[in-house]
């Protein structure tokens, strides 16, 4: 059984001018120990998917349809009070900016101890010993001395290491990492990615890695979901999606990334931009920008259908039998 199962998730924002559908039928699953990458451009709904799973949608956003199952149990219907014990213990979170994640008024040791004591029965002494062990594990030098330091005394890369320790210290089964390396320089990014990979593998933690950087996904994830305009355009093993993308959007996205190894004269470009939530085209959301568009794409919305080893929401791969 999948650890996390998101089925046909719909997230809506009621506004004065009508209801905006920010996520429209998102389905994905994460197996125990698996790293699922979620990639897409700004506004594709990738962060919103993460926020919905952990129950931190900003009001007035609300889950308006579908289900989120953790270990087979529905969590999208839980109240904030019921979600609280789950957060940290079952689902950990790592956000982009480590400075806003950490409380500037508490030492990092206090924040780690508090998190662990909230979820586990630990004496002060045991919790502190564990906090030091975690800081060592995420590569903070002289952890025993640094434990009483405050967030501002650490550099950006070191802070993100502390955030990773904080997300993992109650040993959750799933970690949602939302752009964990976007605020960091490339050499620090490489350190953090390597750390995140090693530590989640050692603890058997599943990761939902949300990022706009396809390179980070290629290096880290087992499977990847490509999102476009609040929908999953393609989902499958990362090597397949990168090397043999099925959906025309994925293909365009891969072609538009400049490569380090081979230089091309012109990058492949997808003209136009992602539609606003107020003007999602009928049928396939990508149809106005797609170079393989045909009549059906403009009228009916495609579901995810198998194409090779991946699944793509594209009429190119739908057989008549598959959709009746």
């Amino acid at each position: 059984m999948a650890l996390l199962d998101v089925v046909d998730l719909v997230v809506e924002f009621p506004t004065r001018r009508g209801v905006l559908r920010a996520l429209d039928g998102v389905s994905l699953a994460i197996e125990p120990g698996e790293v699922l990458g979620v990639v897409g451009e700004s506004g594709a709904g990738k962060s919103l998917t993460g926020a919905a799973i952990i129950g931190l949608l900003e009001p007035p956003g609300r889950v308006a349809g579908g289900q989120i199952l953790l270990n087979g149990e529905r969590i999208d219907t839980k109240t904030q009070e019921q979600m609280r014990p789950l957060r940290g213990k079952q689902i950990g979170a790592i956000f982009q900016d480590p400075l806003t994640t950490l409380n500037p008024l508490y030492s990092i040791g206090r924040q780690l101890v508090e998190t662990m004591q909230t979820h586990m029965k630990l004496s002060d002494r045991d919790a502190r010993a564990r906090a030091i062990k975690w800081l060592e594990e995420v590569g903070i030098p002289a952890a025993a001395q640094r434990i009483d330091a405050y967030p501002h005394q650490f550099s950006g890369g070191m802070r993100q290491r502390v955030v990773i320790a904080l997300a993992l210290c109650a040993e959750p089964k799933l970690v949602i990492a939302d752009e964990p390396t976007t605020a960091l320089d490339v050499s620090i990014q490489a350190q953090i990615i390597t750390l995140l990979k090693r530590i989640t593998r050692e603890h058997g933690t599943s990761v939902m890695l949300i990022t706009h950087d396809m390179g980070v996904i290629a290096e880290t994830a087992d499977r990847v979901a490509v999102m476009y305009a609040g929908r999953v355009a393609e989902i499958g093993p990362v090597a397949e999606v990168v090397k043999h993308p099925a959906h025309p959007y994925t293909e365009g996205l891969m072609g538009s990334i400049p490569s380090l190894t081979h230089r091309v004269d012109r990058l492949r470009q997808i003209d136009g931009s992602m539609p606003r939530l107020t003007a999602i085209p009928t049928g396939c959301a990508f149809n106005p920008r797609c170079d393989k568009v045909f009549d059906r794409c403009r009228r009916h919305r495609p579901g995810l259908v198998p194409s090779g080893k991946t699944q793509a929401a594209c009429w190119l791969y739908a057989t008549e039998a598959a959709n009746g």
Partner: protein, 331 residues
């Protein structure tokens, strides 16, 4: 054949005084603190080519961009534009007109209360290139069409455009004074990849069509690889390696260049793992003695810790590294 040099930087430095206010400093008996943002940088940009500068945050690349268009005056050394010292060039409208800049953030660099038409026309009016309103409007329309927008978009305000479209407006404004030299400071860092591809393609097309010269500043090595003829790698205010981009990508010699190239997640990295280099960029206020990279360098030895490496020519590449000079491959 002598190169046709548009911009020449010779041992340029730019220091910033970051000391605390005088009274506090005196009471605490602190010395003055100086941040050496750019410390003895030399490069040249040939006409019609692109020189890119890459490096991590705080390496001084944006300061170089500002020095190159004369927004900062150098603390030491000299920058020459078309053979004239940059301060003298700035004083002559017909030289100043020939350089322009594209900024990173298309949300902050366009005045939200001006119509696009006026934003793009401002350099034309400032340099008195055209006088009649009809001529100016026609020129603005042509510029907007050139960057892939519609002439009618001139009536709109910046907030009506997406990030990529705003960056096109910035480019149209930069082109309106008919410059030959453009300084582009992270022009695509704020954009999504598919939009980034559109802007990079547009910039390359314009370069070919108008014979533009670019000084391109970026932290993204794959973007730089796509754009550059020559490449300079900066670390803590210095250029550690500079040369033809193809040569540096094929055969990086400086340990920092190697580190940067290894650190970039690439699509070809599927399923592979690597050992990243540890450590972080030190503060430019107290840079390490000797080679500033030595605390992170796998090849550092006693000489690197004490003696500042000088720039030396190795084939087509200039490099500041003792290990490369000695042909050392271990510490």
């Amino acid at each position: 054949m002598a190169e046709d040099i548009v911009l020449l930087a010779d041992q340029v430095s730019r220091y910033f005084d970051v000391s605390r206010p005088w009274l506090q400093r005196t009471l605490a008996r602190e010395p003055k603190q100086v941040l050496r943002a750019v410390d003895g940088v030399s490069f040249r940009v040939a006409r019609g080519s692109t020189l890119s500068l890459v490096g991590e945050s705080g390496c001084g690349k944006s300061t170089v961009a500002r020095l190159a268009v004369g927004l900062y005056t150098p603390s030491g050394g000299e920058i020459r534009f078309e053979g004239e010292a940059i301060s003298a060039a700035r004083a002559q409208p017909d030289l100043r007109r020939r350089m322009n800049m594209i900024f990173q953030d298309p949300y902050a660099s366009l005045n939200p209360r001006w119509r696009v038409r006026d934003i793009v026309a401002e350099p034309i009016r400032a340099f008195k290139l055209l006088s009649s309103t009809a001529d100016i409007n026609a020129r603005v329309g042509a510029l907007l069409t050139q960057v892939g927008l519609a002439a009618a978009d001139g009536e709109k305000f910046p907030h009506e455009f997406s990030g990529g479209q705003r960056q096109r407006i910035s480019i149209a404004r930069a082109l309106s004074s008919e410059p030959e030299f453009l300084v582009c400071d992270e022009p695509t860092s704020a954009l999504d990849v598919s939009v980034q591809a559109q802007i990079l393609n547009l910039m390359k097309d314009l370069q070919q069509r108008l014979g533009l010269t670019y000084l391109f500043i970026s932290h993204n090595l794959s973007v730089v690889r796509h754009m550059s003829d020559r490449l300079g790698v900066m670390y803590l205010g210095r250029i550690v390696e500079i040369g033809p981009a193809a040569e540096i990508f094929a055969n990086p010699r400086h340990p920092y260049t190697k580190l940067l190239l290894d650190a970039i997640p690439d699509l070809d990295m599927v399923g592979r793992s690597r050992t990243p280099v540890g450590g972080e960029v030190p503060s430019p206020i107290n840079p390490p003695p000797g080679c500033p990279f030595h605390p992170r360098c796998p090849l550092a030895n006693a000489r690197c810790k004490t003696e500042k490496p000088q720039v030396l020519h190795l084939g087509t590449v200039e490099i500041a590294c003792h290990a490369a000079e000695e042909g050392r491959t271990t510490a």
